[in-house]
């Protein structure tokens, strides 16, 4: 490690690398959420269903995020677990206008929380109740109730209503996540 880097580390100004996992059902807007975190120049204009996963990077308050944007398609949900290890936080995107599949969301969430790589750790989970601009969208409170989030005792979680197309609500959520991860890292070190 170079002298400069060591110095920067000491002063706490060096950016820390953190990995977050972006999961959720298909068509909930994961790729769009991640896309709007990126700087204006890097954004892609047309977003197609993800097959497998994408790796994206963005920054927030001295943290360099590497986001594993997973495919939400039913066929590929089994593959999420390969990336549970070594992640510092989870962003769970929910389509709040899709009432019908809310039970599926709950099922996938419970499955994830029970996974041995997740349940041991005190990972912060950020929920985006996405597509809040839709007419039939449920409020974030209702979604939290429907998913039984209040029963998650061992992990910090936060839910924020969002609109990934306009970027509304995203910043608030990611700031909470940054805060949590920072605390977690400082506790560790």
């Amino acid at each position: 490690m170079g002298l400069f880097q060591r110095l920067a580390n000491f002063l706490g100004v060096r950016k820390k690398d953190v990995n977050v996992l972006v999961v959720g059902l298909n068509n909930s807007g994961k790729t769009t959420v991640v896309n709007s975190f990126k700087s204006e120049d890097d954004r892609i204009t047309d977003i197609v269903p993800t097959v497998g996963f994408n790796v994206e990077r963005f920054q927030n308050q001295n943290l360099a995020f590497t986001a594993f944007d997973m495919s939400g398609h039913g066929r590929y949900r089994d593959l999420w677990e390969h990336y549970y290890k070594n992640c510092h936080g989870i962003i769970f995107v929910i389509d709040s206008s899709d009432r019908l599949r809310l039970v599926v969301v709950k099922e996938e969430l419970d499955l994830m929380l029970q996974h041995p790589d997740i349940c041991q750790k005190k990972l912060p989970i950020l929920f985006f109740a996405n597509k809040m601009d839709c007419k039939e969208a449920l409020s974030s409170v209702k979604i939290a109730a429907a998913l039984g989030l209040d029963k998650i005792m061992d992990k910090p979680w936060h839910i924020s209503a969002s609109n990934a197309l306009s970027g509304e609500g995203l910043q608030e959520g990611v700031e909470w996540l940054t805060q949590q991860i920072r605390e977690m890292l400082s506790v560790k070190s």
Partner: protein, 870 residues
């Protein structure tokens, strides 16, 4: 760190390769660093390189291991290191066949292949295509189409080649990219153009009209890339062959125009295409050969090699044209490149005059030890051609071959020499003695068991008929003393043949065989005891049957029959006649595939049929299958129902197997049966219908007939009618629409039962002895015929052999050139196990006159054969 230390120590131990002693488990362990939160590109690169090296060395990973390491590797996508990313692409390609869920990287790769970083794009395309299955094709189609027409040549080429690979499993999907590929053909880059043409051809390959259009369009375009032009020439040449077009065709004119192309590669390709065409006139040929002639004097060794190699390959087909280059080829004999020199000499040998043979042989001898086995085989083949062309030169050629035999060389090389000597011996009776002598000398010091066995077998067959058989005995007996068991056994068999054929040597042979009975090997002892007992009987008919005639059953059939016999109670003695016969392979086949003799023979048709027929309970009572005919087409090949018939004869019955194919996709046929109008004397014993025949499947219906009592009427013509119940059905599902079908019938062509169907071929090694033996015992019929439609003896011989279905003995089917008389000797068995021997004396006058003498155990059979010929 410890790994590093170990590496260092090994380096001191003598260096060697950096990855010499890597272990699978260690590498997989190290690959865990891929999982770390922040990737270390330097370390990861090293580990990934090790992994790739290991996979390329042939190490196999279990699906679990492969999947684990694959998913760990996918995490390296977070690094932006250029080298690492490209290694990841390679890793994906390597692991794509072993790991599961490789589809996970699809989006990451499509992002890379459409991204801004050009270094990523080509590799990402190749990796993407290696993980894509036919079902996933639509999801990447858009990106592939874009990549094919990309302005970067590397990207475009990568997409085109990947598309070509994908045609193997997703031809239909790739077809939709034709428009993009056509655009890429117009590219300025030579490689892109070549690859685009390759893809277009691959897509259209099955459709000749489309290929023809493609060639016509591109020939007008004047392609920039010499590679593409070469490929176009090959496609055009293939089209000319398939269409049977002549020199006036536009394709041909295009090839001709390429003679004036500025690239040497294209000019050579055009010349090669022309000389390899089957129908070329001498004018076009001369043009092509003159191009090659020019290349013979080129300063580049590759051009000289290409030219002389092509000339060598076509020397037999077009000797006159190649002779024109003789002077240039003479110059190449002294070429410093030995491969060129060898090819030049062998070409000259193929085309040269008799007078120059000795000189060329001497020239070859000077450097034959310096060239590789592969080229030595070329030399040997040239010598074989030469020996057939100039039989008088056999002594010098034979000397040369024997000298080559004594040199070091692999099995293939030695076998080709032995083959050549055997061919010369068979073709040229004068060369027999010297040839055998050389072979005897060769087996004295031969390390290849299979060759030694073959030569001993040949000595046993040919030796007794030479002037002085006794001289070979010593060579053969030496083998018994010195060699391994399989050679000893072959030697014992060879000696027994001498004993059987030369009565004056018999006492000596008996002494030698008695010694062999003490051998340490079972097989050798058994053979020696067996032969010595038979020889002690002093009965020529026993000799003929058990020593000189080899076993002519198919080995697989014999094995099956013996197993069945052992499974049964063994109440009946084993019947040798029940085993299907395999006719000895013809000389022409042996020439075509000399290797086949060493390989295991595939089960014969007869074996397959016997197995299928014995599965039907109705047919089991008929006894063993005697013979099966070639399939006969009873319909045109393009009709609604395709029916072929195979005639199986049993001792008293004839089974007709009708193989039917339903080509209508909206019909289901049920209860398919064939109604035959049997000839006089035949009676139908049973009809076995085929219960159901769906679209595009074939099924078999059988008719069992009893042969008539009086033999002449067994040769007859039957009318045949296909009867069935039709059920209309849905083409998509193949399920019938209605419960009840309706009856329908379909007229078939008439079916002939010939003499040949009732006879099976039998080889007689010593036909003359069998003929004499048969004189008193068998009944004899004789008749004379005028075969007016035949114009040559060869034609007559081929037709007689085909008509009678008998096997020519003692190579009497080969008519020596320039003779006007010939004697054809045939042998076979009529159904029911009646031996038949036929001698046909042919004379050529106006047409062919034939005197046919038939000897058979059964008078009726002899009469049938004489009457059938008339």
């Amino acid at each position: 760190m410890s790994a590093f230390k170990r590496d260092k120590k090994e380096e001191e131990d003598g260096g060697g390769l950096p990855f010499q002693n890597i272990e699978k488990s260690a590498v997989l362990q190290e690959a865990r660093i891929f999982n770390e939160a922040s990737v270390n590109p330097r370390k990861s690169t090293a580990v990934l390189t090790k992994l790739l090296y290991m996979l390329n060395q042939g190490e196999r990973l279990s699906p679990k291991e492969a999947t684990d390491v694959f998913f760990a590797m996918t995490k390296l996508f977070q690094s932006r290191d250029l080298v690492l990313r490209r290694l990841v692409y390679m890793g994906i390609k390597e692991l794509s066949t072993m790991a599961e869920d490789v589809i996970i990287v699809t989006s990451s790769l499509t992002k890379d292949m459409t991204g801004k970083e050009d270094m990523y794009r080509a590799g990402a395309i190749r990796a993407l295509c290696s993980i894509t299955e036919a079902g996933m094709l639509p999801s990447i189609e858009r990106y592939m189409k874009q990549a094919i027409v990309d302005r970067s040549p590397a990207v475009s080429s990568a997409a085109l080649i990947s598309a070509m690979h994908m045609t193997w499993f997703a031809a239909e999907g790739v077809k939709r990219w034709v428009n993009e590929a056509q655009e890429a053909v117009l590219s300025d880059n030579i490689m892109v153009q070549y690859h685009a043409l390759g893809l277009l051809y691959r897509i259209r390959r099955a459709d000749r009209l489309a290929v023809s259009k493609l060639v016509a369009r591109l020939t007008r375009l004047s392609l920039k890339s010499p590679y593409a032009v070469c490929m176009l020439i090959r496609i055009a040449a293939q089209l000319i062959e398939e269409e049977g077009a002549d020199s006036g065709s536009p394709h041909f004119q295009y090839i001709e125009a390429c003679f004036r192309h500025k690239s040497e590669m294209v000019v050579y390709e055009a010349a090669r295409a022309v000389v390899n065409l089957e129908r070329t006139t001498s004018r076009e040929l001369a043009q092509a050969v003159s191009v090659l002639q020019l290349f013979c004097g080129a300063p580049k060794a590759t051009l000289r090699f290409a030219a002389v190699r092509t000339l060598n390959q076509v020397a037999i087909a077009h000797p006159a044209a190649v002779t024109a280059c003789n002077l240039d080829l003479e110059n190449l004999i002294t070429d410093s490149n030995r491969s060129i020199a060898t090819l030049a000499i062998t070409t000259l040998l193929k085309t040269g005059a008799e007078s120059s043979v000795d000189r060329l042989m001497k020239q070859i001898a000077t450097f034959v030890s310096e060239i590789s086995d592969e080229f030595k085989v070329v030399v040997v083949q040239a010598i074989r051609a030469l020996a057939l062309k100039f039989p008088r030169k056999h002594s010098s050629l034979m000397n040369f071959l024997s000298a080559m035999l004594r040199d070091e060389g692999g099995l293939e090389y030695k076998a080709s020499i032995a083959d050549t000597i055997i061919t010369i011996i068979e073709d040229n009776p004068e060369a027999k003695e010297t040839g055998l002598a050389h072979l005897c000398e060769f087996i004295e010091d031969c390390e290849h068991t299979s060759l030694a066995v073959r030569i001993l077998n040949l000595l046993g067959k040919e030796g007794p008929r030479t002037k002085q058989p006794s001289r070979y005995i010593r060579f053969i007996y030496n083998r018994v003393l010195l060699e391994c068991p399989s050679i000893r056994a072959a030697a014992v068999s060879a000696m027994a043949q001498f004993g059987a054929s030369c009565p004056d040597l018999l006492p000596n042979i008996q002494v030698l065989l008695a010694r062999c009975q003490m051998d340490s090997d079972d097989e050798v002892r058994d053979r020696a005891t067996y032969y010595s007992h038979i020889l002690a009987r002093q009965d020529t008919s026993l000799y003929n049957r058990y020593i000189l005639d080899t076993l002519q059953v198919s080995i697989a059939g014999l094995e099956r029959a013996l197993r069945e016999y052992l499974d049964g109670e063994g109440a009946r003695p084993f019947d040798m006649l029940a085993v299907p016969v395999a006719p000895p392979p013809q000389a022409a086949e042996l020439d075509a595939k000399p290797r086949a003799a060493l390989a295991k023979p595939p089960p014969t048709r007869e074996d397959n049929f016997a197995e299928r027929l014995s599965a039907l309970p109705e047919l089991q009572a008929l006894g063993p299958l005697f013979s099966s005919s070639e399939p006969v087409e009873l319909t045109e090949s393009e009709t609604e129902y395709v029916v072929r018939c195979v005639k199986h004869s049993y001792a008293r019955h004839l089974v007709l197997q009708f193989d039917c194919l339903n080509t209508l996709n909206d019909q289901l046929l049920e209860d398919v049966r064939v109604q035959v109008e049997p000839g006089e004397g035949y009676s139908v014993a049973a009809v076995l219908p085929c219960p159901s025949l769906p679209y595009n499947e074939s099924g078999s219906a059988y008719v069992v007939l009893q042969f008539p009592e009086d033999l002449p009427s067994s040769v007859a013509t039957f009318g045949a009618l296909l009867k069935f119940v039709v059920k209309d059905c849905d083409p998509a599902t193949g399920l019938p629409d209605v419960e009840e079908g309706y009856n329908d019938e379909y007229m078939l062509e008439d079916l002939e039962v010939t003499l040949g169907d009732q006879i099976r071929k039998l080889g007689k090694a010593n036909w003359g002895a069998a003929w004499e033996e048969a004189e008193g015992l068998f009944s004899e019929m004789e008749d004379t015929y005028a075969l007016t439609s035949m114009t040559s003896l060869e034609e007559a011989v081929t037709n007689i052999v085909k008509f009678l279905g008998l096997l020519p003995a003692e190579r009497s089917d080969k008519v020596p050139k320039g003779k006007t008389t010939h004697t054809l000797l045939l042998a076979g068995v009529f159904r029911g196990g009646v031996d038949v021997l036929v001698r046909a004396k042919l004379a050529l006058a106006d047409g062919v006159t034939m005197q046919l003498t038939v000897r058979s155990q059964d008078e009726g059979v002899a009469e049938l054969i004489t009457s059938a010929v008339g």
